[in-house]
Amino acid sequence: MSDKKKWLETSYRQSAERSSRFSTISDMELEPLYTPDDVAGSYDEALGHPGEFPYTRGVYGSMYRGRLWTMRQFAGFGLAEDTNARFHFLLGQGQDGLSTAFDMPTLMGYDADHERAQGEVGREGVAVSSIHDMLRLYDRIPLDRITTSMTVNCSASILLAMYLVVAERQGVSWDKVGGTIQNDMLKEFIAQKEWICPPRPSLRIVTDMIEFCARNAPRFHPVSISGYHIREAGSTAVQELAFTIADGICYVDEAVKRGLKVDDFAPRFSFFWNLHNDFLEEVAKLRAARRMWARIMRDRFGAKNPRSMMLRAHAQTAGASLTAQQPLNNVVRVALQAFAGVLGGVQSLHTNSMDETLALPTEQAVMVALRTQQVIAEETGVTNTVDPLGGSYAVEALTDRMEREAMQYIRQIDELGGMVHAIDIGFPQREIAEAAFHYQRQLEQGIKSVVGMNKYDVPEEIPIPTLKIDPAIEERQIQRVRKIKRERNSIAVKDALRQVSQACRSGANLMNPICEAVRRDATVGEICDIFRTEFGVYTDPGWI
């Protein structure tokens, strides 16, 4: 009998357990204790020192002793000048990178004056229809010094073109522009559900952008492979990990098929993770992700450059974990989630604001969220040691298990013929919906707790102030885009749009024609209309 079994039957059993089953928020069952026997592999093989293969302990040797993570709060609402003011406020508060949220019409490729935009302009993010909005959005933001992340996917090619044209007009050459565009269409079909065309042409546009950035804007990250939305849609931590890495595999495959060498583009891939409530599970997920990607890049794709194997990640605390009830409690949730991110070794972090389950955040709520990161960075002391949780039996055992279970999913997806086919048949979508339903039932049965919601609720709550978006914004943006359409050189625009159509058909890289169309004041909606015409429109299969 092993020591652990003996311990379980003697010391552990001396008192009754408070539950018959202990599991993570993803319902992964946990053992009462982890010991050296539960940790597989040698130190060098499974962990390695920080900054060394397989990067389990961190992608950089000195980690936060060298440089803290980038504090990057996602912001966007109203008109471009409203968001520009929020950007300057955040930079003034010690934030060091920007992250742009666009409104739903921009994200779905409609101009503000389109009927589908009705009621949505400037509501969930900033409204951008033309290059003029983009110029206002990044006014007095030097694009050679401030890096920006843009959360946009099916219309990402146009927003990237606009960003590069803003740089041109600031006199900044493209090789000096750093930033990230989310541009992860596979997870759109899996989870976030913002799309225009079917998966295959969507993937072609993504690959055009990867190729274009590798050749023309080498400091720009052309795709941020995102588990965040997969988790928000209700997946488990293992599903988030597995489907995201599988998406990454698909992008590498496509770029290689295009004739690019893996080490010419993979160093500019980045990842985006969710940080949920279950502390150890999240730390294990982040560590497992780095090890998996390193091994996959080296062994499956034959990468030679260590930077191709290093999974660098942004992370954001879990929006879906916030409660409308007793919203001040969200400050605590966010702090603990962010803490998991830091102990998991992320490179960049967004902390949600306490009021985000109610509305877009107020300035005060955003400040508390940013201060939360600053407290972790400058007061807790966890940044003074690299990977302080490394070697914890529980953390290492969970890291091993997450990798094992995620690799099972990846093998299953390979057997299905890859992620695009898996999406066609709804495999990841159904797995996530199943997990979301399972968790909801566990909540309603009281098996899982949400403080203030299904436990410790109070009848009378103290409301907190929320941000209101002025409905007049919509009309102003509509007038702006109509004015541009009236006053621009319509022949030049038509000609540029024709070039985009031709590239859609010929298979030539779309980015140069899109950049030219944007320079001539073609709008987001007009270019996306070409995608609709040339590639067709995807509709939701509506699986439940």
Partner: protein, 134 residues
Amino acid sequence: MADKRLRILVAKPGLDGHDRGAKIIARALRDGGFEVIYTGLHQTPEMIAEAAAQEDVDAVGLSILSGAHMTLFPEVIRLLKDKGAGDIAVFGGGIIPDDDAAKLKQLGVKQIFTPGASTEDIVKWVRDNVAPRQ
């Protein structure tokens, strides 16, 4: 007397892709014994009203998280009336502030569920408040 099974259209208007709630509700209503039709994402009010009339449903549940509820809910109600289907019960859920919810109820939305509502509450509400259309 055998009850006619209620037919519910679960609809997702707006441009956003937040369908976690809509899918959970659709499944819970189905498990609760109702016939459920789910529209899928990105529906216009016109598409929803058309589907409701064609499918001859007894109620429409709208899920909105994009902030466009004050535009989209009243539009669905108006279009249902236009199609002579104004007696279809409309309820909904999403991130909807209390004062907006009060206004929507005045405009004819029967009930608004906000984050934290349980699927049990919603199934019970439908059972107690939706009658088969005549």
